[in-house]
């Protein structure tokens, strides 16, 4: 598995296929970040694509390849907030009364968990989403993010604990 650093280096040489590898690696994470703000999967799709396009265009401004995940999520969050503001202006009554599932909206449980994820420190969030959204092993996460296995293990453990505490809080 190629590391983020390798894929970023290739992408900077205009290897768009390599950038596609980064998209595949992080798309679920970005999707979850965007959905957590918009609350609507359908609406998220365009924003997710736009996020990756923007990331590609601004890739030279990324100073450290190991920060790619958090950096990407900042772009995603900014794009999602912009879209959220835009949608609020045009939301119709018909949309408001549509069935949540049909409208691509999320269950309460999922919304709570997404909120918890949003409260995590960036690196912990990246680690736990790569682990469970992309099904990467601890070793693979360490490899792609350029961190040690020990660091990733700690990040995952802390993230799980924080999420547990958050969910307990919300269930009170």
């Amino acid at each position: 598995m190629r590391s983020d650093k390798e894929l970023i280096a290739a992408s900077l040489e205009q290897d768009r296929v390599a950038f596609g590898g980064l998209v595949r690696r992080y798309e679920k994470m970005v999707f979850a970040t965007v959905v957590s703000i918009l609350g609507d999967r359908h609406a998220a799709e365009d924003v997710v694509q736009d996020t990756f396009i923007a990331a590609y265009e601004h890739l030279p401004s990324l100073r450290r390849s190991e920060a790619f995940g958090p950096w990407l999520m900042q772009i995603a969050r900014r794009n999602a907030l912009r879209e959220s503001r835009r949608r609020k202006r045009f939301r119709s009554l018909a949309e408001d009364v549509a069935a949540p599932v049909a409208n691509g909206q999320l269950s309460e449980v999922s919304r709570d968990l997404l909120k918890g994820l949003n409260r995590l420190p960036e690196h912990e969030r990246v680690a736990i989403m790569l682990r469970y959204f992309e099904n990467l092993s601890v070793e693979s996460i360490a490899s792609v993010t350029g961190r040690t296995v020990g660091t990733v293990t700690k990040q995952l453990s802390r993230a799980r604990t924080r999420l547990l505490n958050w969910l307990k809080e919300t269930q009170k």
Binding site: R16, V35, S92, N135
Partner: protein
């Protein structure tokens, strides 16, 4: 909810619920390719194309395209349909046919359809309700997106003062956007997407069985996507050419997704018409009454 294991299970369920099962990577790469974006050119977020698949004919690029396609498509030759020697290093069969068509202005436009086919775990195929329709002219194009029979959105890309104006309609919100792109679309010559796909024939793993598609005798090839990127071996691309005209008839990209309830997703481009009868106003942006302009 008391253990880390529970968190793991919840996270996995969340991923299933929240995330699409089909990767958007191909769509993103397509958009980057069609726009000619580079990491070294910083653009405002609003100044990029909003659609992923396109063929777009820039006048200046026409000649280059002809040469390009001749080079690109040249090294292949389809033999007679007995399955014999189908790949040689000298033939320009495909490229020459398209080159001739362009030079004689026989091909003035192209239309085609885009759909996604979902392969269920029981092997059944379901075609997505979202259907894209592309209308391509020499220097402009239009993309219509349908949800079932309902027109969902429409985008025009029309040259203007050395640049390109993108006009988009969103029928759900009754809004429209107008964006200006400076210059042409860079390396997005008229056959940008075909370019990449057809180029893959050079690396084809196998020739597919002859097949009749929409009444047309076709010759097809298959290639593993691992040959052109960091992709799994079982990702397959296929392209079928009209055995007579040697123009593409159908293209597929199959992406197995075994971790989900689906076996695979296949993005399909078909229903190509290389000499469509397009109405004169096909590429004239028209804003329906009552639509409000928004910034994007």
């Amino acid at each position: 909810m008391t253990t880390h294991d529970d968190i793991a299970k919840r996270m996995q369920r969340l991923a299933d619920e929240v995330c699409p099962h089909e990767s958007i990577a191909d769509a993103v790469v397509d958009r980057l390719s069609e726009r000619g974006n580079t990491p070294n050119r910083t653009l405002p977020y609003g100044s990029r194309l909003a659609t992923w698949p396109s063929l777009q004919w820039a006048p200046v690029a026409l000649a280059a395209t002809v040469v390009f396609l001749a080079v690109l498509l040249g090294p292949f030759r389809i033999s007679s349909q007995d399955g014999g020697d189908w790949l040689t290093s000298t033939s320009t069969a495909y490229g020459q046919v398209l080159t001739d068509a362009l030079e004689k202005a026989v091909v003035k436009g192209v239309t085609f359809r885009e759909t996604t086919v979902i392969v269920m775990s029981d092997g059944k195929h379901h075609t997505s309700s979202t259907v894209g329709k592309q209308f391509i002219a020499r220097d402009r194009y239009r993309r219509d997106q349908y949800e079932g029979e309902r027109l969902h959105s429409r985008q025009w890309y029309v040259p203007n003062n050395g640049g390109m104006v993108q006009t988009g309609l969103a029928y759900d919100t009754k809004t429209y956007t107008v964006l200006r792109h400076e210059g042409s679309f860079g390396d997005t010559d008229p056959i940008a997407r075909l370019k990449f796909f057809v180029n893959l024939v050079d690396k084809a793993d196998k020739r597919l069985a002859n097949r009749k598609i929409d009444g047309v005798d076709c010759i097809g090839f298959e290639i593993s996507a691992s040959k052109y990127g960091d992709n799994p071996e079982d990702w397959k691309d296929r392209i079928w050419f009209d055995a007579e005209t040697k123009l593409p008839v159908r293209m597929e990209r199959e992406r197995p997704r075994k971790e989900t309830q689906f076996e695979a997703f296949i993005r399909v481009q078909d229903d190509f018409n290389w000499q469509p009868e397009l109405p004169e106003d096909a590429f004239l942006p028209k804003i329906p009454e009552g639509f409000e302009q928004v910034e994007r």
